[in-house]
């Protein structure tokens, strides 16, 4: 079993590497969108500070007071691009919803995703996956309720307890539980997507039901598969963040850009790794689907003539 899990785990990484063009395209689109989303800020910021000696406050360090001062200027050269960034992020999300069919198909079939096959799969599964997304939002509703309940309980514990630590411990524990629940839901829906592609299942509720049964029977196996990759992603991104904050010189903008993009690339790669591993796992562990019984006409038996009975011939001795 362990060997099989390892095969799935490393096989997923191999699949991402094998069809890495998917990774690069997603990464490129994300970066391009982010540049578009922030272009307005750059356009306003450049004339405001690029000829000013005061811009050095951001070069050899990061003076928070100057940033706040810049944000407060009437023409808002440093206005947070929240609406624009959000719009581009939503568009990216919709694009990813579209691409997911192609991505999962590539991993399930283990075929080179040409533009034709990729977009064909994208279009083929888009509405199905949109329905899955809606189902997932419904499933997330009780988790949202749990978040509200945990928040309420946190306030209550914090209010009553003389020490701050019981509330902190509750917060950590509830955060772990909520994150775990979200991950479980994500794995369930990931498997539903794999089933939808692998079996060309049109009925998403059926895909969800099959995925639920599959996940329930192989809960720890699939959870560990997902979490292992997540841990790798979090560790690498955390180390990179630490390097960015503590290791890079303040004026190293090129190095900071490369490092930040490396983090993004790792994040996308590990998410694809999870999908690829799940696809392989499904190929290896998919239940043998017994074919629907095919109706075949019964054999034709010639009628026996209903004439005189055969004469009884007694046995001879």
């Amino acid at each position: 079993m362990a060997r099989s899990e390892d095969g799935t785990f490393f096989g997923g990484a191999g699949l991402v590497w094998k069809w890495q063009r998917l990774l690069w395209w997603i990464f490129a689109i994300n970066v391009i969108f982010a540049f578009f989303a922030t272009q307005g800020m750059v356009d306003r910021l450049t004339p405001a500070i690029s000829h000013s000696a005061e811009s050095q406050a951001f070069v050899h360090g990061f003076d928070v007071s100057q940033m706040v001062s810049l944000m407060g200027q009437p023409d808002s050269p440093l206005e947070f691009q929240a609406p624009t960034v959000t719009h581009f992020s939503v568009v990216f999300m919709i694009l990813m919803l579209f691409f997911t069919g192609g991505i999962v198909a590539a991993y399930v079939r283990d075929e080179r995703p040409t533009a034709t096959t990729f977009f064909e799969a994208c279009g083929h599964h888009f509405w199905r996956f949109l329905r899955l997304l809606l189902y997932m939002l419904i499933v997330f509703l009780p988790i949202g309720g749990l978040v509200a309940f945990a928040s309420h309980m946190y306030d209550k514990i914090d209010d009553k307890s003389i020490s701050p630590f019981p509330a902190v411990q509750f917060f950590v524990a509830s955060a772990v539980v909520i994150l775990l629940l979200m991950v479980i839901v994500r794995i369930w829906f990931d498997m539903a997507q794999v089933i939808a592609v692998a079996e060309d299942e049109k009925r998403m509720h059926k895909a969800l039901r099959l995925a639920f049964g599959l996940f329930r029977r192989n809960f720890f196996s699939l959870l560990w598969l997902y979490l292992r990759v997540s841990i790798i992603a979090v560790v690498i991104v955390g180390l990179c963040l630490r390097l960015w904050m503590l290791g890079l010189k303040p004026e190293s903008t090129v190095a900071a850009f490369l490092l930040s993009q490396f983090m993004l690339l790792i994040w996308i790669a590990t998410r694809l790794w999870q999908r690829a591993s799940e696809a392989i796992w499904y190929r290896q562990n998919a239940p043998v689907v017994s074919p629907e019984p095919v109706w075949t006409p019964p054999p034709v038996i010639a009628p026996i003539a209903m004439g005189e009975p055969e004469p009884y011939i007694p046995p001879t001795t």
């Binding site: 969108f33 982010a34 690029s50 100057q66 960034v85 630590f165 960015w244 930040s260």
Partner: protein, 665 residues
């Protein structure tokens, strides 16, 4: 502007007098004053302050109900030079009721603990009730107590009452009042109250008003106001359950264990104008001391559960602050300072000053790079000078305590922790105290003048921005005019001259002018009494070949090598101020100009064998009142490093938002 301000004040006084029907409560107009108290020769020799009041209070805390039952004896010495028959008293705790002026203003404009439109929460209900009021020679006057509202006429406000004696108290004579009262503490709100087993008992007893500028000064409690009181002595007995750990703004005289499971602690304090105390069974006491020129100063730090990692931070900054205040501004005359660390959830009790007792603020996971505990401790200790000893009227001229204190906070924190990172000190982000005060100022630079009465500011944000941030920024900018050392000497003189008195803004201004030897009214009229906006910019800076029409001389450089360089500087705001302009050329030469800033703009012209490299107003960034530093300079060569840095951050944020959303798909 000063005339307009005085007119506004006079008009406001007239309105208030009519509304309140209490002509005794005329508000003092700003301006030079004569000494407001008459000290006897004997007193000034033997005491630090002229002692007008002597309070003796015996209080018992019900730690479960958070109530206090107390008796108070107040002996008031009439040093007003006039017979006094009517006396006003503050009842601050009555502010915490839905119809009070305090809550009305909080609902309208917010305060530090609650924003505009905040809902009334019954748990924050607080009250103080005087059950009995007697005066020697007048008998029981309880029925003659009368709530008054000298500021706004809001009859729902019960934070001030007055009572008339049977006969006037002659000048130089004393009168003794005997009061019985009880308090209901609110759950912590605006510096006072309880949280779980923690009780912060501040502004908790009936306190007599101040005879000032030939009138009683006893304002209602407002959302943005603090306090004003006369100096004197306090003998306070506090009875609490025996498991309570108590801190107070006085020297512990005795402790008696009572048979009913309580204990009574007696405190004495003198030459102060208030007394507060705190109690909690959960405190951990950390003791230390600082050897000052007047003897050791005992430091009692009462730490709440979970916050012990910050105890040493409190002590370190306190020692540094004591040292620098003594070196720079004047001696700390008391033998003690108590630091109260409020528990989690009780932070509204934090960041407050009382004589020889301050409340600070931290939490269990406060990073070392965030110097909030240090800043709050320094700030509240600074109030021992600006409020505690130099006891200005916090209702009417809040900038004199909060503002000057914010300035000295910058100086002390910068000295102790480094100029550019004395507020935040992380490898990836830094913030100096100077910058922090400037941020505060920039959040509302021109809504109100510094000199406005505290409750008349546009809103809570403007009060904070102007009173704290603008005053600090204004004084930091003043260093540019008279020099840092001169200003320090001026503040030292102001402290030594006015400690244990009630000076005004004009006293401060006159002292600074006297020490600097300069007439600074041109500056203070704008910075203190005005709302002028300060913004200078380099409007244009470029070089052109002198013989630009001669095409043969155009490239790559003119044959004669001479360029004409123009630099135009502009005053965008109304605030006029002399500024220095430094122009640098590519042959390494520089030109320095001094512009008086009177006109709207000024153009400088140079004919040199060099092109301009940069032009910069105020190269040292000393004029902190300037709203926009970014237009103060022009570099001929563009440097996009900062833009790239911002773009990196924003691109990164955008990408990760996309990733979070796409996880759902």
């Amino acid at each position: 502007m000063r005339f307009r301000f005085a007119f506004a004040v006079a008009a406001a006084c007239a309105v208030f007098s009519v509304v309140s029907g209490a002509p005794l409560f005329a508000q003092a107009p700003p301006g030079p004053i004569a000494p407001h108290v008459v000290a006897t020769a004997d007193e000034s020799k033997t005491t630090l302050s002229v002692r007008v009041v002597a309070y003796t209070i015996d209080a018992k805390l019900d730690a479960t109900k958070h109530t206090i039952a107390a008796t108070e004896t107040l002996t008031y010495k009439n040093l007003t030079g006039k017979p006094q028959q009517t006396f006003p008293f503050h009842l601050y705790l009555n502010a915490f009721q839905p119809q009070s002026t305090f809550e009305t203003e909080v609902r309208r404009s917010g305060t530090r603990g609650a924003g505009p439109n905040s809902e009334w929460e019954p748990k924050h209900f607080g009250s103080i009730t005087v059950d009995k009021f007697e005066a020697d020679g007048s008998g029981d006057l309880t029925s003659k107590m009368e709530f008054i509202q000298p500021d706004d006429g809001n009859t729902g406000d019960h934070t001030v009452f007055q009572v008339a004696l049977a006969k006037p108290v002659a000048p130089g004579d004393s009168v003794t009042f005997h009061l019985t009262f009880h308090d209901q503490l609110p759950e912590v709100v605006e510096r006072t109250g309880y949280k779980r087993d923690f009780d912060m008992v501040g502004q908790w007893f009936p306190k007599v008003g101040v005879w000032w500028h030939d009138a009683w000064n006893c304002h209602q409690f407002h959302a943005n106001t603090e306090f004003f009181a006369d100096f004197g002595t306090f003998d306070v007995k506090v009875t609490v359950p025996q498991n309570e750990i108590v801190g107070a703004g006085g020297d512990l005289v005795s402790t008696v264990q009572n048979s009913d499971g309580t204990k009574t602690l007696a405190y004495h304090s003198e030459d102060v104008h208030d007394f507060s105390w705190t109690a909690s069974p959960s405190f951990t006491v950390v003791e230390d001391s600082w050897a000052g020129p007047n003897g050791p100063v005992a430091m009692h730090v009462l730490m709440s559960p979970g916050n012990m990692p910050s105890a040493q931070r409190y002590i370190d900054v306190l020692k540094g602050t004591l040292r620098l205040f003594n070196e720079w501004y004047g001696p700390y005359p008391y033998d003690r300072i108590t630091v109260v660390d409020p528990p989690h959830g009780g932070q509204d009790a934090g960041g407050m000053e009382y004589p020889t007792l301050i409340t600070c603020g931290t939490n269990w996971n406060m990073p070392k790079g965030a110097l909030l505990p240090e800043i709050v401790t320094e700030h509240e200790f600074g109030h021992q000078y600006w409020y505690g000893m130099v006891a200005t009227n916090e209702f009417e001229e809040a900038w004199l305590d909060e503002g000057i204190n914010s300035y000295t906070e910058v100086k002390i924190m910068d000295e102790l922790y480094g100029k550019d990172h004395s507020a935040l000190n992380f490898p990836f982000a830094q913030l100096g105290e100077q910058g922090a005060q400037r941020i505060s100022y920039l959040s509302s630079p021109d809504s109100d003048p510094l000199s406005r009465f505290a409750w008349k500011f546009r809103n809570n944000n403007s009060y904070g921005a102007v009173t704290y941030g603008k005053t600090a920024t204004m004084l930091l900018t003043l260093e540019k005019v008279i020099g840092e050392d001169t200003l320090r000497q001026g503040i030292h003189t102001y402290f030594m001259r006015y400690r244990f008195t009630h000076p005004t803004g004009e006293d401060f201004i006159k002292t600074i002018e006297e020490v600097s030897g300069k007439d600074l009214h041109w500056y203070f009229n704008q910075a203190i009494y005005g709302t002028q906006v300060f913004d200078y910019e380099v409007d244009d800076a470029h070089s052109d070949p002198l013989k630009w029409w001669d095409t043969s001389m155009a490239h790559p450089k003119p044959a004669d090598g001479i360029y004409r360089t123009y630099v135009t500087v502009r005053r965008k705001g109304d605030f006029t101020f002399p500024v220095d302009l430094v122009v640098k050329f590519d042959d390494g030469s520089t030109a320095t100009e001094h512009w008086d800033g009177q006109d709207r703009w000024m153009r400088y012209q140079y004919d040199r064998k060099a092109e301009i490299v940069s032009a910069q107003i105020d190269p040292q960034n000393q004029i902190l009142l300037d709203k926009n530093f970014f237009n103060n300079s022009y570099n001929d060569k563009s440097d996009s490093t900062a833009v790239h840095k911002f773009r990196n951050l924003w691109v990164f944020a955008s990408e990760w938002l996309s990733q979070i959303l796409s996880w759902l798909t």
